[in-house]
C-alpha cells in the first residue's frame, strides 16, 4: 500500500479553483426526556458511573426494550420542524457491531424506514441570504456508553492498557438528522456547514427537545466531505470527520478536510474512505478507527419492538403546537420592540432575548426590560463571572421592579438596590423593599412634615424663598432628602417647598 500524501492544506479558494466540495452532515442529538429510549432508567448527565443502568440498557439476556412515547413525540416534532414527512409505518432495526460501549453487541436504530424523512431547513447565512439544506431523514436510536481509557501517556485510546465503561449513557434517546449531499456551496461550504448546525441547534432549542450542548456532547456533528473535479458530477471519495464539538469546529473541520483532500488529489494520490478525528487544538484531522463497511452491520428488523403508526390526528396536533422558528421570532421581536439591527444583535449575543421576552410577557415595557438585562444585569453577571441566564433573578422579578419604578414606588437608583437585594437572596422585590426600607417616601403628610421641619430649622433660607429666590429651595430639598435617606422623590419635595413658602 502506498502512503497517503499529507500535503499542507490548500485554502478553500485554491481548492475551489479545481474542485466543487460536497458535504453531508450528520447531527446526533440527545433528547432531554426523563428516561432512556427503551427502559425507565433516568436520562441524566453527570451521575455517578453505572447508577442509571438496568438489565435492558446493560443488554442482559432476556431483557426486552419498551419504547419511550415522549421520545417518539420529540422525533416527530423535530421532523415537522424540519419540514419532513412523517412515515405512516416505521420500525426499528438492529445494527450489529462489537464494541465495549455497546453491551448488547447491537444498537437499536432505524434503517429502511426512519420515522421522518424528506425535509429541508432554510438556513440564514451571515450576509442575510438563506441556504436551503435538504434533509434526507431523521431517525431514532440509542446512545452508547462512555469509555475511559486507562494507561498510556495521553488518556486517549491509542496506547491505553485497558478501558473502563460507564453505561449511564447507554440507551439515552438519540435522534440522528442526516442531510442530503450539500452541493454548490463552493468557497462558502465551511460557512454553510456552520450556519446549518447553528440553525439546527436554534430550532431544536426552540422545540425544547434537547439541551443541545455541543461541549457536553448532547449535540454532535459528523461532517462528510468529498471533492469532485470542476465540471464533473460524480462524487469523490468521502471522509467522515467526528469529534467536532463546537460550531466553530464544524467550519474549521470542513475547511481543513477540503484543503487536505485537494492536497492529496492534486498530487496524484487517492482519498481513503475513512473516519477521521478532529483535533480542536491544531484544527487538523487524523485517521480514526477503521469502520465496518455498511453491509458488515448486518441490519435486520428488531423483533422485540412492534412498528409505529403515528395517527394523522397525533401528527397534526404536534404540528399545531410547533413554536415559531428562532430567526422568524427574532425578526418579529425586532419589529415589535422597535430595535435596531445592532440592538437585536447585542440582545442575541448576550443570550438575553428569552430573558427580555419573558420580562415583557410578565408585564414590563420592552424598552425597560431590554435596558435592565443588557446594562445593569449584564454588568452584575459579568462581575460575578456567570452567564446572564444564571443570575439569581427571574424575568418576573425584573418586571416587578420595572412596575414599581413606573408607579413611582422606586426611583431608578432605589430600583438597582432592590435588584441587588434579589441577587443577594433577600427574597422577592417587595420583600427587599420592605426589608431594606427602600420605598420612595410618597406619603404627602410625612413629606410635608419633613419640609416644614427643614424650613423651621433654616429660617433664613425660608425667608429667601418667600422673597422669591426659588433657587434657595435646593438647600431645603437637600435637607429633606437627607432626612428621608434619599427615598423621597426630589421633584415632589421641590414642589412642596415652594408651596409651603407661598
Amino acid at each position: 500500500m502506498t502512503a497517503v500524501v499529507e500535503s499542507a492544506p490548500y485554502t478553500v479558494e485554491e481548492v475551489c479553483e479545481h474542485f466543487d466540495p460536497v458535504m453531508g452532515l450528520e447531527v446526533h442529538v440527545e433528547l432531554n426526556t426523563a428516561t432512556k429510549m427503551f427502559c425507565g432508567c433516568a436520562n441524566a448527565f453527570g451521575a455517578e458511573p453505572n447508577t442509571n443502568v438496568c438489565p435492558v440498557c446493560l443488554g442482559l439476556p432476556g431483557s426486552l426494550p419498551r419504547l419511550n412515547g415522549a421520545a417518539v413525540e420529540s422525533a416527530i416534532r423535530i421532523g415537522l420542524a424540519l419540514n419532513c414527512r412523517v412515515r405512516e409505518r416505521s420500525g426499528f432495526a438492529r445494527k450489529n457491531y462489537f464494541y465495549p460501549d455497546m453491551p448488547k453487541n447491537f444498537q437499536i436504530s432505524q434503517y429502511e424506514d426512519p420515522i421522518v424523512f424528506d425535509g429541508y431547513l432554510d438556513v440564514p447565512l451571515d450576509d442575510g441570504t438563506t441556504w436551503r439544506v435538504e434533509i434526507e431523514r431523521a431517525h431514532m436510536e440509542e446512545d452508547t456508553g462512555k469509555s475511559l481509557h486507562v494507561g498510556g501517556a495521553t488518556g486517549r485510546i491509542h496506547g491505553a492498557d485497558y478501558s473502563l465503561l460507564d453505561y449511564n449513557r447507554s440507551g439515552v434517546p438519540l435522534i440522528e438528522i442526516v442531510t442530503r449531499p450539500i452541493i454548490g456551496a463552493g468557497v462558502r461550504a465551511p460557512e454553510v456547514a456552520r450556519a446549518y448546525v447553528t440553525a439546527l441547534r436554534d430550532v431544536l432549542r426552540g422545540l425544547g427537545v434537547s439541551d443541545v450542548r455541543m461541549d457536553q456532547g448532547s449535540m454532535r456533528c459528523d461532517a462528510n466531505v468529498s471533492l469532485m473535479p470542476k465540471g464533473t458530477s460524480t462524487f469523490g471519495t468521502r471522509t467522515e470527520t467526528k469529534n467536532v464539538n463546537s460550531l466553530r469546529s464544524v467550519e474549521r473541520a470542513v475547511r481543513y478536510e477540503m484543503g487536505r483532500h485537494a492536497g492529496v488529489l492534486l498530487s496524484g494520490g487517492a482519498i481513503r474512505q475513512e473516519t477521521r478525528h478532529f483535533d480542536e487544538q491544531s484544527g487538523t484531522t487524523s485517521p480514526g478507527r477503521p469502520k465496518e463497511t455498511f453491509a458488515d452491520y448486518r441490519f435486520f428488523p428488531e423483533p422485540d419492538l412492534p412498528p409505529l403508526e403515528p395517527s394523522a390526528d397525533w401528527v397534526e396536533s404536534l404540528r399545531a403546537g410547533l413554536p415559531e422558528r428562532p430567526w422568524e421570532r427574532r425578526a418579529r421581536v425586532q419589529t415589535e420592540w422597535g430595535l435596531s439591527d445592532e440592538e437585536l444583535r447585542d440582545l442575541v449575543n448576550a443570550d438575553a432575548l428569552d430573558l427580555v421576552a419573558d420580562t415583557v410577557d410578565a408585564g414590563a415595557p420592552p424598552e425597560a426590560a431590554r435596558s435592565w438585562w443588557v446594562s445593569y444585569l449584564a454588568q452584575q453577571a459579568n462581575t460575578a463571572g456567570v452567564a446572564l441566564t444564571e443570575l439569581a433573578i427571574t424575568p418576573a422579578q425584573v418586571a416587578r421592579v420595572v412596575a414599581m419604578v413606573a408607579e413611582g414606588t422606586l426611583t431608578n437608583k432605589l430600583a438597582r438596590q432592590v435588584v441587588d437585594g434579589v441577587l443577594a437572596g433577600e427574597g422577592e422585590p417587595d420583600e427587599v423593599v420592605a426589608g431594606r426600607g427602600l420605598a420612595v417616601v410618597s406619603d404627602e403628610s410625612a413629606l410635608t412634615a419633613a419640609v416644614d421641619e427643614a424650613l423651621a430649622a433654616q429660617p433664613a433660607v425660608a425667608e429667601k424663598i418667600k422673597a422669591g429666590k426659588t433657587k434657595a429651595a435646593g438647600a431645603i430639598v437637600g435637607a429633606v432628602m437627607k432626612a428621608t435617606r434619599g427615598q423621597a422623590d426630589a421633584a415632589r419635595v421641590q414642589e412642596l417647598v415652594l408651596e409651603r413658602c407661598r
Binding site: 426526556t33 426523563a34 428516561t35 427502559c39 425507565g40 432508567c41 433516568a42 455517578e48 458511573p49 453505572n50 447508577t51 442509571n52 443502568v53 438496568c54 438489565p55 446493560l58 442482559l60 419498551r66 419504547l67 419511550n68 412515547g69 415522549a70 421520545a71 417518539v72 409505518r89 420500525g91 450489529n96 457491531y97 462489537f98 464494541y99 465495549p100 469509555s147 475511559l148 481509557h149 485510546i157 491509542h158 491505553a160 492498557d161 485497558y162 478501558s163 473502563l164 465503561l165 460507564d166 453505561y167 478507527r289 477503521p290 465496518e292 458488515d296 448486518r298 435486520f300 428488523p301 423483533p303 419492538l305 412492534p306 412498528p307 409505529l308 403508526e309 403515528p310
Partner: protein, 98 residues
C-alpha cells in the same frame, strides 16, 4: 449452490469476534452454504407478498416517560469479570483493529 467461500466465513468470524481454525473455515463454509441454499427458497415468493418481520398484530406500543428504579451499582457490576472505580473494566480496545 450459493457459493459461501472460506473468505466469507473468515470475514463473518472476524465481525463476530470468533476465533476459527483453518479446518473450521472449510467445515463452516460448507455448512453455511447449505443453510443459505435452503433459505434461498424465500426468493421464490412472489413480489406482491409484503416482507414480514413482525407477526404480532400490534402497533404503537409506547411507555410513559416516567423513571423507574435502576439496579444498585453493586448488582450491575456483580456479573462483570472485572470492575474498577464503579466501572466495567475491559481489555484494551484498539489493539486487534490496528
Amino acid at each position: 449452490m450459493s457459493d459461501i467461500t472460506r473468505d466469507d466465513v473468515a470475514h463473518l468470524a472476524r465481525l463476530a469476534r470468533l476465533a476459527v481454525t483453518d479446518d473450521e473455515l472449510d467445515t463452516f463454509s460448507r455448512q453455511i452454504d447449505a443453510i443459505v441454499d435452503t433459505v434461498s427458497a424465500v426468493g421464490d415468493i412472489p413480489d406482491d407478498v409484503p416482507p414480514t418481520a413482525q407477526v404480532v398484530p400490534q402497533t404503537n406500543v409506547l411507555r410513559p416517560d416516567a423513571t423507574e428504579p435502576s439496579l444498585p451499582r453493586e448488582a450491575a457490576l456483580a456479573g462483570a469479570p472485572s470492575a474498577e472505580e464503579g466501572r466495567f473494566r475491559v481489555p484494551r480496545i484498539l489493539g486487534e483493529e490496528l
